[in-house]
């Protein structure tokens, strides 16, 4: 009986110490990790779609509260020739291998999609994972109106799916649709905020 | 009761019939000669260079490993020379020298000596080496690119590449007779089909390779290709084309029946060969690779110990603790 009690106590104390230590560490590193993710994962994706911007879109960001979501979302602003006219943000959709992040950029003047880029994904290497590099596929989204709901051709839309990767293509479309929804919803707030940035 | 006299061994002295490892190796080398000479005539001096470098470096690696592992020097048994020769027969006539030397290193050291030398290798060393090179430097083993400087009086293309790219439409300029006589681009010693067949038949008649493997390998190719061809003759080429192109013939007679990587019982030998032929055509017709022979042989090498477990059931009592 005494041994039993000892086992329970040792395990409990050890686990709670470990949990406490890790929770403290997680809290302390959270900000740094977020900024690392911004520079190494979202950064390249943002630079990719906001090519030619005069500012550093990763630094020039603001955040807005979206209805029904706990955390605020980040919006990245692209300034062209002193004129802040592009905004990019990330939406998520479920792909073949799980959650997939897609960065979508909008031109706030012409109300068009400027480009899309994939940030994080778990798609099959060689099949769905080609979404990272397949510019032909991603270029199809550029120029669509900002209220578009793109779909792949098989679902009655106009987007040519990547060969062999319909589910991944569908997920990108879904994420872009979510982005356009969000853009419509927050349009006025986004436009006000974007104006405050200048090159 | 089993016949008690059947398994009895008489008293010494015994008579040695003169067969040795080297005897077999030299006979196989002799059997390749027709195909090799035809290849040399077709491709000239560069092919001779590749051939000598390959044989020479294979023997040098063997000697080096013998010295390193402090074992008796075994280059005299001809096996290293045979590995070098077969390896060169698969290569295009124009390849960088370091590719040949790396290839024979992989074949002799990693393919054979690591496992304790001749008779211990689970894979055919030549096939291992060629597969590893195919993964690493596909651009140098592309026959159309490597042989671009040659002027032939026939369609100068590697038939399987044309087949992969254009389907049967790419093959109109090839006739079975021409293919048999080596009118195709390909490995130094792998194009002259007639020579390979004559060499193979010689080896079978002398008993150096088992006919079961060679014949069933070709039969596997023939049957599978025929099925594909009957299913859709416009897309899939006929069986004769598959047998006469690429490494099919050299694979059937010289690569698949290699001693330590192929089965020894009758039914397993048939299964082994048929499976190899089947996989070859499957890879050629459906896979991404141009020629399936190399990978097919690697796979059947891998499964041969399992196939070899298929044996005739012993009559009467089985001694489990024998």
């Amino acid at each position: 009986m005494r041994e039993m009690v000892k086992m329970v106590i040792v395990l409990t104390v050890l686990s709670s110490l470990s949990g406490g230590l890790l929770a403290a560490l997680k809290n302390n590193t959270q900000d740094r990790i977020d900024s690392q993710v911004l520079t190494f994962v979202k950064g390249p994706a943002i630079e990719n779609i906001l090519e030619g911007a005069n500012n550093d879109p990763v630094n020039d960001r603001f955040s807005l509260k979206v209805e029904g979501e706990e955390e605020e979302r980040n919006f990245f602003v692209g300034v062209y020739d002193g004129n802040p006219k592009a905004v990019a943000f990330e939406t998520r959709a479920s792909g073949y291998g799980g959650d997939m992040g897609v960065m979508v950029a909008f031109n706030v003047e012409s109300e068009e999609i400027m480009g899309v880029s994939v940030t994080t994904h778990n798609e099959t290497p060689g099949v769905g994972a080609t979404v990272e590099t397949d510019t032909n596929f991603k270029n199809q989204f550029a120029g669509l109106p900002a209220d578009a709901e793109p779909r792949v051709k098989g679902d009655g839309g106009s987007i040519n799916a990547m060969s062999g990767a319909t589910i991944t293509s569908r997920a990108v479309c879904k994420a872009v649709s979510r982005a356009t929804d969000l853009y419509q919803q927050l349009q006025s707030q986004i436009k006000d905020k974007v104006k405050t940035f200048t090159g | 009761m089993p016949n008690p006299t059947k398994l009895t061994v008489s008293h010494a002295p015994f008579l040695h019939d003169g067969s040795e490892i080297s005897n077999k190796q030299y006979n196989i080398i002799a059997a390749t000669l027709i195909a090799v000479i035809a290849g040399l005539l077709q491709y000239g001096i560069p092919a001779l260079g590749v051939l000598t470098l390959s044989v020479g470096s294979a023997m040098a690696w063997e000697l080096l490993m013998n010295l390193l592992t402090r074992r008796p020097v075994s280059i005299g048994d001809g096996n290293a020379a045979l590995i070098g020769l077969l390896f060169a027969m698969l290569l295009p006539a124009v390849v960088p020298w370091w590719l040949v030397v790396t290839g024979t290193f992989v074949a002799v050291v990693i393919g054979k000596q690591i496992y304790g030398g001749i008779g211990g290798n689970p894979f055919n060393p030549v096939v291992v080496a060629y597969a590893i090179l195919m993964i690493s430097w596909p651009m140098f083993l592309d026959f159309n690119a490597a042989l671009v400087d040659y002027q032939f009086d026939f369609t100068a293309g590697f038939p399987l590449v044309l087949y992969e790219a254009y389907g049967t439409a790419g093959l109109e300029s090839f006739s079975p007779g021409g293919l048999l006589l080596g009118q195709q681009a390909g490995g130094i010693g792998a194009t002259f089909g007639l020579g390979l067949i004559i060499g193979g038949i010689y080896l079978i008649l002398r008993g150096f390779i088992r006919w079961e493997i060679a014949v069933s390998f070709l039969a596997g190719i023939f049957i599978t290709a025929l099925c594909f061809n009957l299913y859709n003759p416009e897309v899939y080429a006929g069986p004769v084309f598959h047998i006469l192109t690429g490494y099919a013939l050299i694979g059937a007679f010289f690569l698949a029946p290699e001693d330590s990587s192929s089965p020894v019982h009758f039914a397993p030998m048939l299964i082994y060969g048929l499976l190899g032929g089947f996989l070859t055509v499957l890879i050629r017709n459906l896979g991404a690779h141009v020629d399936g022979v190399i990978y097919a042989i690697l796979i059947i090498n891998l499964v041969h110990p399992i196939i070899d477990k298929i044996r005739p059931k012993a009559m009467r009592r089985v001694m489990h603790h024998a």
Partner: protein, 197 residues
Amino acid sequence: MAKTIGQEFVKGLWEEIPPFRLVLGLCPTLAVTKSVENGIGMGLATTFVLVCANLLVSILSGIIPSKIRIACFIIIIATFVTVVELMMQAYAYQLFQNLGIFIPLIVVNCIVLGRAEAFASKNKVIPSFADGLGIGVGFTLSLTAISAVRECLGNGTLLGYSIFGPAFEPFSFMVEAPGAFICLGLLLCIMNLVGQK
């Protein structure tokens, strides 16, 4: 049989060097040694976990009941692995991206649990520290050696710097998975050859 602290440390560098002598921890050895940078990063992460886990296990060995010792070891090891993972995410994100899933997998690296069970739980604090450090440094050296061979031949570079010049055609087989096995096997073979003398 008692060894000095120095001997405990040195044995991890040659006598019991993983993965060559103790053929343990093969999963990270084979998976992350595509480049020297990854190899060193993985080695250092494992060293940190080994040293900390060994220290803590030997301190707590009197308290931990033997029936649940494995569970306790795993809690200790997993804690330090998570620490490494968080720190690496915060300060070396690119390395974290390269090593990916193999950082959390240090938890199940049998070297770490093996040292905790076989050494630290039966020895005092200082020798355990020396043992963990020795084995960890040995592991780092082995990973560096394997990854140096693979990166050199397979990519023509060392730590990202080209060493053979542009004429070199990379032997890309070496950075593929089967190349890892062959490379490990050949190095083991050379170690044995040298060790025999």
